[in-house]
């Protein structure tokens, strides 16, 4: 399992040309093993650049990234090995499916790790189980399935490597509400059952509020906020100023407070909202 330490990380795109642009600057961060982290930030805030540093897809312009106490950019070997420890699922991962069958596509990662045939099969079954893909689909072509199923197979392809850290870039973008919920639940289950660290980049504040233990907000290539959902969502004004939204319940609570209704405590989930309203009306929460 893996702890991630990021020290003074910066990345500059097209250094030394007129198009030079600092994407992230001076990031210091420690993510202990097993944490469920929500990564928020508007488009261009540097979060996608940041996550690509965590598995050495991008090399830092300056600073270090340590996974399990080892600098991942030491040499070619560590850069290659870290990709098995830190699994990264890109945005719209279904566009990267290429094999003839679902089974073969999920097996691509484990095969690259050089595992035996039995081990590969075991991992494919396990990964498919985590994302709720039925084994009857194993021989189907991944290109013929529905969008939601493709997405789950693509995620299974990364999970099959059994990464100690699972990073997902907007895993629910473009899915219907049921598809979103299923995928978020699958990811949660993976985290609970394996004890892996999970980092989810999301624009969905409600998901972030409901699932994450810790929320990190990116703005202009740096970290603007870092704390528990309670801490971050108790500062809704700042979030809105950065150009982000707040969870629905927080927005309702803000509106009620403006009308003079005194709600106590931080409100970022539906339960908390109900609770706060009941308490304000003098009724004890059930």
């Amino acid at each position: 399992m893996a702890e991630i330490i990021v020290e003074n990380l910066s990345h500059v795109y097209s250094a030394g040309t007129p198009f030079e642009k600092a994407a992230i600057q001076g990031i210091d961060l420690t993510i202990p093993q097993g944490q469920f982290v929500g990564l928020l930030g508007h488009t261009g805030s540097g979060k996608s650049t940041f996550i690509q540093h965590l598995n050495a897809l991008l090399t830092p312009s300056s600073g270090r990234v340590l996974v399990d106490g080892e600098d991942i950019n030491q040499d070619k070997k560590t850069r290659y090995r870290v990709k098995q420890k830190v699994g990264l699922v890109f945005q719209y991962p279904e566009y990267q499916l290429f094999e003839e069958t679902v089974f073969a596509d999920i097996a691509f990662g484990p095969k690259n790790m050089g595992l035996s045939a039995e081990e590969i099969e075991e991992r494919v079954r396990e990964a498919a189980g985590f994302v709720g893909v039925d084994e009857s689909l194993f021989q189907a072509s991944p290109l013929e399935l529905s969008g939601g199923q493709k997405r789950r197979i693509a995620i299974a392809g990364v999970i099959a490597m059994r990464p100690g850290v699972l990073i997902l870039d907007e895993p629910t973008a473009g899915l219907d509400p049921r598809g979103c919920r299923q995928i978020m639940d699958n990811i949660c289950r993976y985290q609970k059952e394996t004890g892996a660290t999970v980092i989810v980049v999301s624009h969905n504040m409600d998901d972030a509020a409901r699932l994450a233990e810790r929320i990190i907000v990116f703005d202009h290539g740096g970290i603007a906020m870092d704390g528990t959902p309670e801490e971050v969502f108790s500062r809704p004004r700042e979030l809105i100023d950065i150009g982000l939204a707040v969870p629905q319940s927080t927005a309702i609570a803000m509106a009620l407070r403006e009308k003079g209704i005194d709600l106590k405590g931080a409100v970022y989930t539906h339960e908390q909202l109900l609770d706060a309203i009941l308490r304000a009306k003098g009724v004890d929460a059930c």
């Binding site: 098995q84 990267q96 290429f98 990662g109």
Partner: protein
């Protein structure tokens, strides 16, 4: 990164060369190429170099940009030069050597010819946007519509292909990253292994190219696109006085080159 490739890239600007009508520039490039092939002696080559440098100066393109574009051609240039140096009969540079003075002379001219040829076409693509270029081409080829050549369709396909090159490069970058994250290895292994490693990139790339083509077709149809007949343009191309001057100068240059050839310069 793949993105750093320059392939006849357009550099926006407002020099006199940028302002010329794309049709004029297309004709001038053809005239330039014909003129270049008239060159035999060093004096005529000097004349072409002079004209090329003058045009570059007028277009505000820096020599550095041209050199950068020439780099991918380096292999071909060196190869042609080497072949000419070693395989031309004549007086040896030193007794017993295979290298001859004639060979060196011929190789130098060959290098110059290739470099000038590429520079001339760069001058066109660096100062003309792909859209203007295809528009100009369509209008120039307009008479061929009489013989049922689908000129509009051809140029439309060309501009679409150009339009999608950057998009597909970006897509390739993304797919490569994603497969690398799954442990794909594109750099090591034998030639066959590396060729096989391209499959996880090519399949998704083709799938997405077809998807994009489909979406584009639907988008065009829903805006009532029905081919070139009766179609008007947002940017009407108009020949101006400077175009006439440029064309006359171009023809004078060609005449001068033909004269040089006759005189054996």
């Amino acid at each position: 990164m793949l993105k750093d490739i320059t392939l006849g890239q357009f550099f926006p600007g407002d020099s006199i060369v940028h302002k010329l009508d794309p049709r004029t520039k297309l004709i001038l490039v053809i005239v330039y190429i014909i003129a270049l092939f008239q060159a035999k002696g060093w004096i005529s080559y000097a004349l072409v170099v002079l004209v090329t440098v003058l045009c570059l100066a007028l277009s505000h393109i820096r020599f550095k940009t041209i050199f950068k574009g020439l780099k991918p051609m380096l292999f071909i240039i060196v190869l042609t030069a080497a072949l000419n140096i070693f395989y031309t009969a004549g007086t040896p540079v030193l007794p017993g050597w295979i290298i001859t003075w004639e060979g060196i002379d011929r190789a130098a001219k060959m290098i110059l010819r290739i470099v000038l040829l590429i520079t001339g076409t760069f001058l066109l693509t660096y100062t003309t946007s792909p859209m203007a270029l295809t528009d100009g081409l369509e209008l120039l080829l307009d008479p061929l519509k009489k013989v049922k050549l689908p000129v509009h369709e051809m140029t439309m396909m060309m501009s679409m292909a150009l339009r999608f090159i950057p998009t597909l490069i970006e897509e390739t970058d993304k797919i490569m990253s994603a497969q690398k994250a799954r442990g794909a290895d594109f750099e090591n292994g034998s030639l066959i292994q590396r060729a096989k490693a391209l499959l996880p990139i090519l399949v998704p790339l083709f799938v997405s190219a077809f998807r994009r083509a489909d979406e584009l077709a639907v988008a065009m149809e829903s805006r009532c696109y029905h081919g070139g007949e009766g179609r008007t343009r947002m940017k009407q191309l108009k020949m101006a006085g400077r175009d006439a001057i440029a064309l006359v100068l171009g023809l004078l240059f060609l005449a001068g080159m033909i004269l040089c050839k006759r005189l054996g310069l």
